[in-house]
């Protein structure tokens, strides 16, 4: 079966532009996570969706960042008015349930470069 997919794989944008990053989780997975990985850094939690519950947005670094998940499946992470410090790899993961003892399956990530 298909794993978690993300698009685009690479995105180069100019400072001040908006970008949208897409994540297609594994079919049937109710939990979806977004992380940011800066060069040489660990994973920084951004946002978590579980079923129809309100998302946990506690990791979003500023109000320029937002995410939605339509129909409990595909998710889009939007960064408005991008800044150079937004340059990073954005990883999406899904799991079959929202409890953190379940394995998270990761996508290949989107490398965002803000010039």
């Amino acid at each position: 079966g298909a794993g978690v997919s993300q698009s685009p794989s690479n995105k180069v944008t100019e400072k001040g532009k908006d970008v949208e990053l897409r994540c297609d989780p594994i079919s049937g997975h109710t939990a979806l996570y977004w992380y940011r990985q800066s060069l040489g850094q660990g994973l920084e939690f951004l946002i978590y969706f579980q079923g129809n519950s309100a998302p946990d947005k506690s990791g979003l670094p500023s109000d320029r960042f937002s995410a939605e998940r339509t129909g409990g499946s595909v998710s889009t992470l939007t960064i408005q008015r991008t800044q150079q410090e937004d340059s990073a790899v954005y990883l999406c993961a899904s799991s079959s349930r929202g409890r953190s003892y379940n394995e998270q399956f990761f996508g290949p990530g989107t490398r965002l470069t803000v010039l």
């Binding site: 850094q41 946990d56 953190s100 003892y101 990761f106």
Partner: protein, 112 residues
Amino acid sequence: AQTVTQSQPEMSVQEAETVTLSCTYDTSENNYYLFWYKQPPSRQMILVIRQEAYKQQNATENRFSVNFQKAAKSFSLKISDSQLGDTAMYFCALGNNNDMRFGAGTRLTVKP
């Protein structure tokens, strides 16, 4: 707050030898799960091994095993008979309820 610390930013090992990656954590919870994830240069993160905190027996997956010391809050990963394909970033993670925390990672290079 839960924290995960990996104190070794980079490590190297000769092919066929054994290497141990360190991880310490802090949590006030009694029930939690610990994970080691591998991220090869291709960026695809995959689960290597998982340990339930309530189990005393150390988890093992083929050449990968852990040394789980609950009292010391330590969770090290041992890779035996290292292979070139083991070259990757390794992340230790702590999961409890709906919170998952990752360490900063250890870059492991296996040398031929």
